[in-house]
Subunit: 224 residues, 2 copies
DNA sequence: GATAGTTTCATACAACTGTTTGAATTGCAA
DNA sequence: TTGCAATTCAAACAGTTGTATGAAACTATC
């Protein structure tokens, strides 16, 4: 228990390299070179390469989940047990978007690592993501309290779409920048969060029964 | 030019195996075993493993793009040069969703392969996807005609969100099924397309200037 | 300062990867 | 049939990968 130095040097080096070059072509030898430690150190301290990746991902995603739940709890307490739906969605997508996008996050290896983890799909991370369901259920519960009477399926779809927009923005931010030739500002994270939340709220409250076969033209207006 | 037999046997076997087990752990030896051909045949007929994957992906995605443009062209001709926005978005997300989800597509290796290609992110496929920008610009142009005066950035965000919901639904269909405990029907593809289109239309037409700092509650109603 | 436990290190291992080679076989035209 | 090109094949190649080993170096306790 004395030498955390090696341990954390490996973690830092691995996070940096994975963030920079992806999981695909970063070997243990690259990592130990960057960390200036011996090759065997990874297996000694982490057991295996996969466990190293898992620890990296778990640490970061636990932090995000904690932040999410804090925001949710705060919003629900403020609303006396019922948070407004936009606050709930804000708590859901805000931490992730803020963590991965945003100013001066360019240099943050943690953020870039999480972007990689979102783009590539490597077994140890996939295993962890599959346990995320329980976490999301807490948001479904809050949404149910916020929009009582709403069909559960609608809530699931709303949450699903909120995550879709948030994750896709993270995954494809370069492509969106290129496609829009810079007209979409990917630096103003606050505006992005608001935009995702706003659309998600519309998805949830727009029309009771989503257009069945031929969706009519939909017009939304701001109701104060 | 005589033996396409080997060539297409390889293509079929590769598509099946990649669809079933992902790109990560399917080797050339797996493929040639499934195809009952010699190991060297892949390099002989395709040059390299990456070129095999690329050909597989290009074939399928060209088909999807063609279908998209057909739908778009049809809608614009019907509208005399200006298609309604929901028709444009329908042309954008319909072919992809229909191609990857939907009934009796369970057995379609082509569909499952495209899902894999959407989930995992392997270099040859990434290279091809990066050339997709020109294709998407045609939809931006159609959207500009459909919603004149609208800020270009808004159009880009709308298209981006439409793709986000469509791709995320494909990628995470199992997870959504599990999360919603089957309450979200992933088999009714038509309904899913309509749902994605409907939300995308709301995103594009909902409020002129997307809520800046504190998004107000938004209510949409059906017009017409 | 001897001892026991932890940590580092160089090295080897065993397996697997995509690719190449050169000879055998096939198919087809003259 | 003969000749030539296209195709198939078994085998080997060259490189990389994550992991295991056992000895050395360190660290703290008594």
């Amino acid at each position: 228990m004395s030498s955390d130095r090696t341990r954390s040097a490996i973690l830092a080096a691995a996070e940096k390299l994975y963030a920079d070059r992806g999981f695909g072509d970063v070997t243990l030898r690259d990592i130990v070179a960057e960390a200036n430690v011996n090759l065997a150190a990874v297996n000694y301290h982490f057991g295996s390469k996969d466990e190293l990746i898992a620890e990296l991902f778990v640490t970061r995603s636990l932090a995000t989940n904690r932040e999410r739940l804090n925001e949710l709890k705060f919003a629900e307490e403020k609303g006396g047990g019922r948070a407004p739906i936009d606050a709930i969605l804000h708590a859901l997508v805000g931490p992730t978007l803020r963590g991965c996008l945003g100013p001066d996050r360019e240099g943050s290896t943690a953020a870039r690592f999480m972007i990689r983890a979102s783009i590539e799909s490597v077994p140890p991370i996939r295993r962890i993501k599959n346990r995320e369901v329980d976490h999301l259920r807490k948001f479904i519960a809050a949404m149910r309290r916020s929009l009582p009477g709403r069909d559960d399926a609608e809530l699931y779809w709303g949450l699903h779409f909120a995550l879709a927009m948030s994750h896709h923005t993270i995954r494809e931010k370069e492509r969106l920048t290129r496609l829009s030739e810079g007209q979409c500002d990917l630096n103003d994270v606050g505006a992005i969060v608001d935009r995702v939340v706003s659309v998600s709220v519309m998805a949830l409250t727009g029309d009771e029964t989503p257009a069945k076969k031929t969706p009519g033209k939909l017009v939304a207006r701001e109701a104060r």
